[in-house]
Amino acid sequence: MEKHILIGGEAGAGIAKTTLLISEIFTNAGYYVFNYREYQSLIKGGFNFNVLKISDKPVYSHDNSYDVIFALNQDLIDRHEKDLKDDGFIIGDKNLKGKNMISIDVQAMLEKMGASKKLGNDILIGALAKIIGLPVEPVVKVVKGAFKKKIDLLEESIIEGYNCVEKKMELDNPDGKPKYFITGNEAISMGAIVSGMDMYIAYPITPATPVLHELASKQIEHDFMVVQPENEIAVACSALGASYAGANTMIGTSGAGFSLMAEALSLQGMSEIPLVVYLSQRTGPASGVPTYNSQGDLKFAVNIGHGEFVKVVVAPGDAKECFYRTIEAFHLASKYRVLVMILGDKHVGESNYSFDDFEEPKIKPNRFITEPCEDYKSYLITENGVSPRSVPGQSAVVRATSYEHNEYGHTTEESEEVIKMNDKRLKKFDDLKKEIIGLVPVYLHGQGKKLIVGWGSTKGAIVDALKNLPDFKFLQVSYISPFPAEEVKREIEDSDEVILIENNATGLLGDIIAEQTGKIINKKVLKYDGRPFTSEEIVEKVREAIK
């Protein structure tokens, strides 16, 4: 069973909150819900919508044909009436016009109850619940429970809405166990706290801002700091300062801010100060389409910063992966004194995913800070290239530097020392590669003989599409640097046919695969209109590609 609901209207009409309430009604009853958000770069007016996919089985993506359109303005109907299924319905206020319209006289009902205008959406929620086939009690319970303060006439409004329409649909019974319902950005925030983060530094930018807000709201309770400096250059420089002083530090941004951070991220490479960066991609270049999605920064992340140095890039495919990959990011950054980038995007960051459970993370917080020994060398050359980390304030002088240096951290221009230090830094790649093999750098979904290759937020739509593509399996590449070349190469060689799927215009992972494995994937399904794939689109385009 699957039900698809479109909820939309003008910005400021309470669409996000209404969507969360409806989602929660279903996840509380034990259904799996996926929520896709689309909004414009404005504050009031315009056109925003959310798409819910609801099922009694796990779902990870949305589709564009709807069982119900929950309309808060005429614009939504005008744009999306064509996407309504033949047996679907549009629910909305009586002044809205559309096919299969269930009109509700919201104004009259509010007046009759003497209720505030704000309760209009709750009347419509009640009506939706009845039409789609839910009992009323749990709906009232969930909606009431979602507000901290008691709201007069809330329950009455829901019931009034519920009673004014007829039941139109049947739902399969779910397992009854409430689900976790969480966005990628929320999961990254929680992952950071679980990693023992001390400091999050960021400048506001869509679509990374929700992490800034989420962490800021939790900083006192969980005893860490969230700081918003004057620009992204200051963000990255101050983060390196804080980490040098011993704080477990993460920064977050999107492409435009990431561009400004490039020089400081190169400084990370030379200074070897641990740093975690969350890069949430949006549609570029430049200011692009700022509230929409893209996977266009993959090679930018892998190549960020001038000079050659070790970088780790990990791309989570859903909210659960966001949580665990963030924990890995902190661990690897501290252990190897490297730059670790969590490469997300608007889609994985702002969509809500549902899960039965989260397993206890195997990795525990560790700063990898040691008491300095006598004759401490900040850049001691060791077998695996990792120098013991110490912090200022202890017995030894601790140095960090942007210039090439000797083991003590003093500036050098001598050719032998330049070579030695480059080798030391790059040596870290060897152990990192080994460690990453244990972190599931690639994952094979499905059992077909033909192969889809992708990464990051396309996972949801591809996994959901596999149900209708029985010949196909899906290789999800999660670690982009160090690149699991052997694993990817083997899978490509073992498959009858290979299709690359990416949410960008040129197939960036395809380039990296070619560079790392010598394998060139010619069949590509690419999308670069700022919108993520739906599973229906994947099925259609993959079938077209193999014709």
Binding site: I233, S238, L240, A242, P392, R399, A400, T401
Partner: protein, 288 residues
């Protein structure tokens, strides 16, 4: 402790006779005095530099040190203070890096008023890159990148920092080591953002030694608590080499104002914090 203990033994690569040596001597003496007076702990002193001739001080001072990027001394200092508020952070910048590449940070560090000290080596030139004009170069200077002459008036860093809310503003002279030492000590002891401009003639690209010796005077009977007086004194020299220039040195302004760190009840030396977060409790709010 003796000041010599702060030597590193690294070979100096400043020009022979560079006035930066005067600043190095003052910094070493100031830190030594404060350590000996038990006002700071040596292990808690952290230097921060950007990139320019001045940055070489990184290699000549045996203290914790972060040698950061061109123009980015200030945000790096800011981060270190947030990472461990017990550290005594002393930053070094040049007039080129500070007022050209990194100007935004100057405005904000003054505004934040974090408890750090910032010394600007001001020779009114980009010397390491062979003597181009900076934002503090005198009007009319014809240099390698500005053969037609600098058209703009120089900015006045003291007026700027006073305007932006710095709680300690001073000017020293690299060749007056005893007074510069006192200024640096006072700056490091001041609670809040301490800005010290150090006039530092470049013997290779802008040798203003004689001009400065002829026009510099020490502030006396000056009320450093009076903002308007400080501003008046700051405006006295326009950074050009006019015959009748009068260049005051000393502490222009010092006031107690809330420091950045005060707003954070949770701020502490983070590296000591033991953490054992309960992931299930944390995720409970998302179970709906």
């Amino acid at each position: 402790m003796k000041a010599e203990e702060l030597n590193t033994g690294e070979k100096t690569t400043w020009c022979p006779g560079c006035t930066d040596f005067g600043i190095l001597t003052s910094v070493k003496q100031a830190i030594t005095n404060l350590v000996n007076d038990e006002k700071v702990k040596r292990e808690n002193v952290v230097g921060v530099s950007g990139v320019g001739c001045f940055d070489k001080i990184y290699d000549y001072l045996n203290i914790n040190f972060f040698h950061a990027l061109h123009g980015r001394t200030l945000p790096t200092m800011f981060g270190i203070k947030l990472g461990n508020p017990e550290l005594n952070v002393i930053g070094f910048g040049g007039d080129g890096s500070t007022y050209a590449e990194g100007m935004a940070h100057v405005v904000h560090s003054c505004r934040y008023n974090e408890d750090t000290t910032f010394l600007v080596f001001d020779n009114q030139r980009f010397s390491l890159t062979t003597g181009q004009a900076t934002p503090v170069t005198e009007k009319g200077f014809a240099g390698p990148s500005t053969p037609l002459g600098v058209h703009e008036k120089p900015i006045n860093p003291l007026v700027l920092t006073l305007t932006c809310g710095a709680s300690f503003v001073a000017r020293g002279f690299a060749l007056d080591i005893p007074n510069l030492t006192k200024l640096i000590e006072a700056a490091m002891m001041h609670k809040g953002f301490s800005f010290v401009e150090i006039l530092q003639p470049c013997i290779s690209y802008n040798n203003t030694i004689q001009f400065l010796r002829d026009h510099i005077y020490k502030l006396e009977n000056h009320d450093a608590g009076n903002y308007d007086e400080a501003m008046k004194k700051a405006l006295e020299w326009n950074y050009c080499q006019d015959e009748n220039s009068k260049i005051p040195t000393g502490i222009f302004y010092e006031t107690n104002s809330p420091v950045y760190e005060d707003q954070w009840p949770q701020l502490k030396p983070w590296h000591n914090v033991e953490r054992n977060p309960d992931f299930r409790k944390l995720l409970a709010e998302f179970k709906k």
